[in-house]
């Protein structure tokens, strides 16, 4: 048993944290995240240069990491900085390309930016209900809210089956927009769009990629909630009402303590999920993490706003953007209830 972080991973964490702190401060983030292209392409390139994508891939495939812990520490830092760069699509593309036995290199250098198109309006997060159809090497259908879809070079598309298809973004109609919590997304319209099949029977690969994404989002939420909580404790210590710091009011103290305990729970479940990514327990641990973090992230967001009061309702004060991200993470890759239902299905297995 050893819960210490390896030197390599600590270096990665430290580098990334310092870089984001200096180069991607929250006011810059707010400027770029809500206006087209809804992220900062220069920063995307710089992050690639830092080796960020290499950290998401295993060493025997040209990466420098690729374990659950690597992914978790990277996304925790992205979350702490509220970074809107579409790294999630890149991670999923790396996992799917690994499963397809393809070439990772363009993804790792960042030369190719990929987005993965799973969800559809009627299907939600359900891979069995997809209606996008493949015929004669062409895809027809509409994929909805594709994270990082705006500006991506390649689209990895899940079609009915489910099968996995590769589409050059230029061949599809990609209608980009920003998310309510910042960052790029897109609707992808496929109308007999040329595509090449990467994995004909892709259920296992898609579930695996989605589990990695769910781990990443859980870790991102963890970083974001730690940052938001730190802002709260600072505020409680400095803001005065009725002549004393509001942090001296016991009712607020106890609620802040409860948040601290919940955040500790979130950290632990992310660690557990990260440890299980290459084991048969992956699905269970990931769903436990995404379920629990989803619940806790909402609680943290709501409580941090409530305890701040009005100021946290403003666009100008960064807590509002953290709160939005914390809540909206639950809408990506299956929400808290969706993962709880997945766990309910596993109960009888033990």
């Amino acid at each position: 048993m050893d819960f210490s972080i390896s030197d390599d991973r600590r270096m990665l964490t430290d580098t990334l944290r310092r870089y984001l702190f200096e180069q991607y401060p929250v006011d810059h983030r707010t400027r770029v995240a809500y206006a087209a292209p809804f992220h900062d392409p220069a920063q995307w390139a710089a992050l690639a240069g830092l080796g960020l994508f290499h950290a998401l891939a295993p060493e025997d495939r040209g990466g420098i990491g690729g374990t659950g812990f690597d992914v978790a520490v990277v996304f925790e830092e992205l979350g702490r900085a509220l970074c809107p760069e579409p790294v999630l699509g890149q991670l999923m593309a790396i996992r799917l390309t690994l499963a397809a036995g393809g070439d990772l290199e363009p993804l790792l250098t960042g030369e190719t930016r990929a987005a993965v198109a799973l969800d559809e309006a009627e299907a939600g997060w359900d891979l069995d209900a997809l209606t996008t159809r493949a015929a004669d090497g062409r895809l027809t259908g509409r994929k909805t809210v594709v994270y990082g879809g705006a500006g991506a070079d390649r689209l990895l598309v899940a079609a009915a089956g489910p099968g996995l298809w590769d589409v050059a973004a230029g061949d599809a109609e990609v209608a980009g927009y920003g998310m309510i919590d910042g960052g790029p997304a897109a609707e992808v319209f496929l109308d007999a769009t040329p595509a090449s099949c990467l994995i004909p029977e892709a259920r296992a690969a898609l579930e695996e990629a989605r589990d990695w994404a769910a781990l990443a989002l859980s870790a991102e939420a963890l970083g974001a909630m730690e940052a938001a909580f730190a802002m709260l404790t600072d505020y409680l210590a400095t803001r005065k009402q009725f002549g004393q710091p509001i942090g001296t009011f016991q009712a607020l103290q106890h609620r802040a303590v409860d948040l601290a305990i919940e955040i500790e729970q979130a950290r632990s479940i992310v660690i557990l999920a990260a440890s299980a990514m290459d084991t048969p327990e992956r699905a269970k641990r990931v769903s436990q993490a995404k379920h629990l973090v989803g619940r806790i992230a909402r609680q943290v967001a709501e409580e941090v706003i409530q305890m701040h009061g009005g100021i946290a309702m403003t666009w100008e004060y960064p807590v509002s953007h953290y709160a939005k991200r914390l809540v909206m993470i639950d809408h990506q890759m299956g929400d808290s209830d969706w993962h709880l239902e997945r766990l309910m299905g596993m109960l009888e297995a033990g």
Binding site: Y34, G124, D128, A129, Y177, I305, G310, T314, H331
Partner: protein, 394 residues
Amino acid sequence: MDLTYSPKERAFQAEVRAFLAEALPPDIAAKVAARRELGKAEMDRWHAILNAKGWLAGPWPKAFGGQGWGPVESHIFEEECCRANAPRIVPFGLKMLAPVLMTYGTPAQQAEYLPRILDGRDWWCQGYSEPGAGSDLASLKTRAVRDGDHYVVNGQKTWTTLGQHANRIFCLVRTRTDGKPQEGISFLLVDLDTPGIEMRPIRLIEGGYEVNEVFFTDVRVPVTNLVGQENEGWTIAKFLLGHERTNIAGVGFSLQALEQVKALACRVTRGGKPLIRNPLFAARLAAVEAELEAMRITNLRMLDRAARGGRLTTEPSMLKIKGTVIRQAINDLARRALGPAAAPFPSEDLEANLQIAPEGHARNAASYFNNRKISIYGGSNEIQRNILAKGLNS
């Protein structure tokens, strides 16, 4: 015990319902249902329709041009307005300043301002909160110094809702700095065209503009604009806080929002079935409906008591807390129900061209975030708990 409306009340309810069906412009109702922001023109249009009917100021005494509605009629009117997706009446002139003027204003002030509120010439906004003094009104710092026939006002107000549409503001200002902090406050009417006033919008969490900061630099206000006595503002502020609290629970909003979520849950699918048959979501819906029904009855009990002339003590604070929690829970369900489709930043363009969420629901996440405010403003739920705690053992 009888929980139903009397025949007279039912007749009034039918009258309101019929009027709304006929008079409420469909374009406005559609915007309200979709929780899109209304422009000033749309709000003015609706106010004018109501004013023509004589219902803009239903609760005002007849002497001032109202209908003299009691709490039950007011409640019925508001409930029906919510059900019909009518816009909320902008309360600052009609429900906040007007009662103050009727109680503390001079006949001249009443004659000057009340008609202008009714016919829409004046749009009032509120200058209470200041930066650094959220729920703690006694600590406010905006100064008004007497200079001949004028006060000279310096300071800053914030959270001024819809101030961008207003031409006048009523303010609490400090007119004395010695003595108890509560004792040096006055209630002042200010024309926003007066030199030295700057209004700056505050953008809110979800991206909308509905509140403002107001800066006062050497603003000269005639002393005739003082309401009540100098240094009596605290009394007026307390009067206002205790006034018009029968709709504090927002039952009508919640009922309407719950109906919308139910309809949405019948429309969207999860795992190939309508979401409303998903047990976890259905459990949340059914549970919040039971909570809302309970609160609806608590609200009626309070109305009944108020209508019989009973004094409201703990009820408004209880209803404020429970009412906001329930409304936020319904907003939460409306957001959740969309799944992936909740994510886009809402815009007219997106709604018109991409239709990602079902029609009328593109702003569910935005509404959820925006309505985090309701448990903060008007005395946060924490302040309400402090108030209730004082009464626990009495």
